[in-house]
């Protein structure tokens, strides 16, 4: 069998997606058996001009992790797209913007102000900020320009497959590898995970979903057998795609939605908001106001991993 040409690339990322690939442990050898890794910048010699020199579509599969947050990353995404037959958004950052896209609730100016001036350990009376070009006595140093808005990969280039998860679990990664090896990939556009919601695969007992108070995770010791949402803890299960094996739930903590919305849901946040308001069983105005109070941070909770691909994408400011 002719070996596949595989590329792995990371953009604005934490590195956890790469560690997840390593967590396949000895099975990583299966990956090496079916594929020649032609790029993996953290592991191999890789420069832009090497990619530029390749024929278009000469890479079979590119696993791209991380969000896009500056022009350099956008360019590389476009370049790799041109050179790859199949582009895979790997991990929640590439799929939906991930946690870095919470930055869409603010902007570059505010971030710089906080990081370089306002933080209490700073001594910066001259208000020095990182610049794209700096003259030093020996020459010039360059930095890439920082965007206001974090983008998911699919907002920059067309993407064939989505592998969600922060990071994607090992069994899903192996599923992808297997599908590649046997050439049994689903039709383009597919998300490689479950179709239905996390609640659908969650092992906890579900009875009647009705609550009259919301508890923050540290305010209550939940029954480890019962649905967390029914115990008043906000759990993103109803608005989140299944396929992770309910990993956080197993640790007795609520889901925060890293698998993104299930098939057919356009906006994960709106869906969760709707689900929560539906089961919160109060009727008079005052009680409704209390409910609103209790949901401390709807945007930051319901869009925890997906500001970039939410319908509104960012805060207007």
């Amino acid at each position: 069998m002719v070996k596949l040409k595989l590329a792995l690339y990371w953009a604005a990322t934490c590195g956890g997606c790469d560690v997840a690939v390593l967590d396949t442990n000895e099975k990583i050898l299966d990956i090496v058996n079916i594929a020649d890794i032609v790029f993996w910048p953290i592991a191999m010699d890789f420069k832009r001009h090497h990619v530029e020199a390749m024929e278009d579509k000469s890479i079979d599969v590119c696993l791209f992790n991380g969000a896009v947050r500056n022009s350099e990353l956008e360019d590389i995404a476009k370049l790799l797209r041109a050179k790859s037959k199949t582009m895979v958004a790997f991990g929640s950052c590439a799929c939906f913007g991930g946690i870095p896209s919470l930055a869409n609730l603010t902007n570059r100016r505010e971030i710089f102000e906080r990081a370089y001036v306002e933080a209490p350990s700073n001594v910066n009376p001259e208000r020095v900020f990182p610049k794209t070009k700096t003259k030093v006595s020996e020459g010039e140093l360059e930095l890439p320009e920082f965007y206001d808005t974090v983008l998911a990969l699919g907002q920059v280039v067309p993407v064939e497959y989505f592998v969600p998860g922060c990071p994607p679990p090992v069994d899903l990664i192996l599923k992808v590898v297997d599908a590649l090896a046997t050439n049994q990939l689903p039709p383009p556009g597919a998300t490689i995970a479950a179709e239905k919601t996390l609640c659908d695969e969650c092992p906890r007992k579900k009875e009647e979903k009705r609550i009259t108070k919301i508890y923050r995770p540290h305010e209550i010791i939940p029954d480890p057998e019962r649905c967390l949402l029914e115990q008043g803890i906000i759990c993103m299960g109803p608005a989140t795609r299944g396929g992770c094996g309910a990993r956080c739930i197993e640790a007795n903590m609520p889901c925060r939605g890293c698998f993104g919305p299930p098939t057919g849901v356009y906006d994960q946040g709106a869906k969760m908001l709707s689900a929560l308001a539906s089961i919160y069983d109060v009727k008079d105005e005052k009680e409704i106001a209390r409910m609103v109070e209790e949901v401390l941070d709807p945007a930051g909770t319901f869009y925890r991993f997906g500001m970039s691909t939410s319908l509104l994408q960012r805060k207007r400011m």
Partner: protein, 138 residues
């Protein structure tokens, strides 16, 4: 310069608010022409996604009309709506969207003039706020 004419999307429940709008029409009550009505069976059918989609698709303001408490044809629909819209407003606020762009009003089948008043009010308010422009990239 042309004056800004806001586009308002109104989701009206079939049993009360839509009938109220109808009454305003048949009674020839004048109201601002900025509204496009979408009839739904119950205000409880208005998913928050609809509201966000309307804004994203170019609406400058959204009105949700339902029956008064106790009158919902499906018993509980409007309570659910009240909770959703209240929470939605909080979330939209975090996203930099002015609270007055989304209105929830109880309008019965007999309240044609109330309907007209609501339309005039929301139009005036949204006009004041200016066009809703979704911001995307830097």
């Amino acid at each position: 310069m042309e004056e800004f004419e806001p586009k308002i999307i109104a989701f009206l429940c079939n049993w009360c608010s839509y009938a109220g709008a109808d009454l305003a029409g048949t009674s020839r009550i004048q109201y601002a022409p900025n509204v496009r009505v979408i009839r739904v069976m119950c205000s409880g059918r208005v998913d928050p996604t609809f509201v966000i989609k309307a804004l994203r698709a170019g609406a400058d303001g959204v009105l949700i009309g339902g029956c008064h408490f106790g009158d919902c044809h499906y018993m509980e629909g409007n309570y659910k709506t009240a909770r959703r819209v209240a929470l939605l407003k909080k979330m939209l606020g975090q996203l930099g969207i002015e609270e007055e762009r989304v209105w929830l009003e109880w309008i019965s089948a007999a309240e044609g003039s109330h309907f007209a008043q609501v339309i005039n009010d929301i139009t005036a308010k949204v006009k004041e706020l200016g066009p809703f422009a979704r911001q995307n990239n830097s």
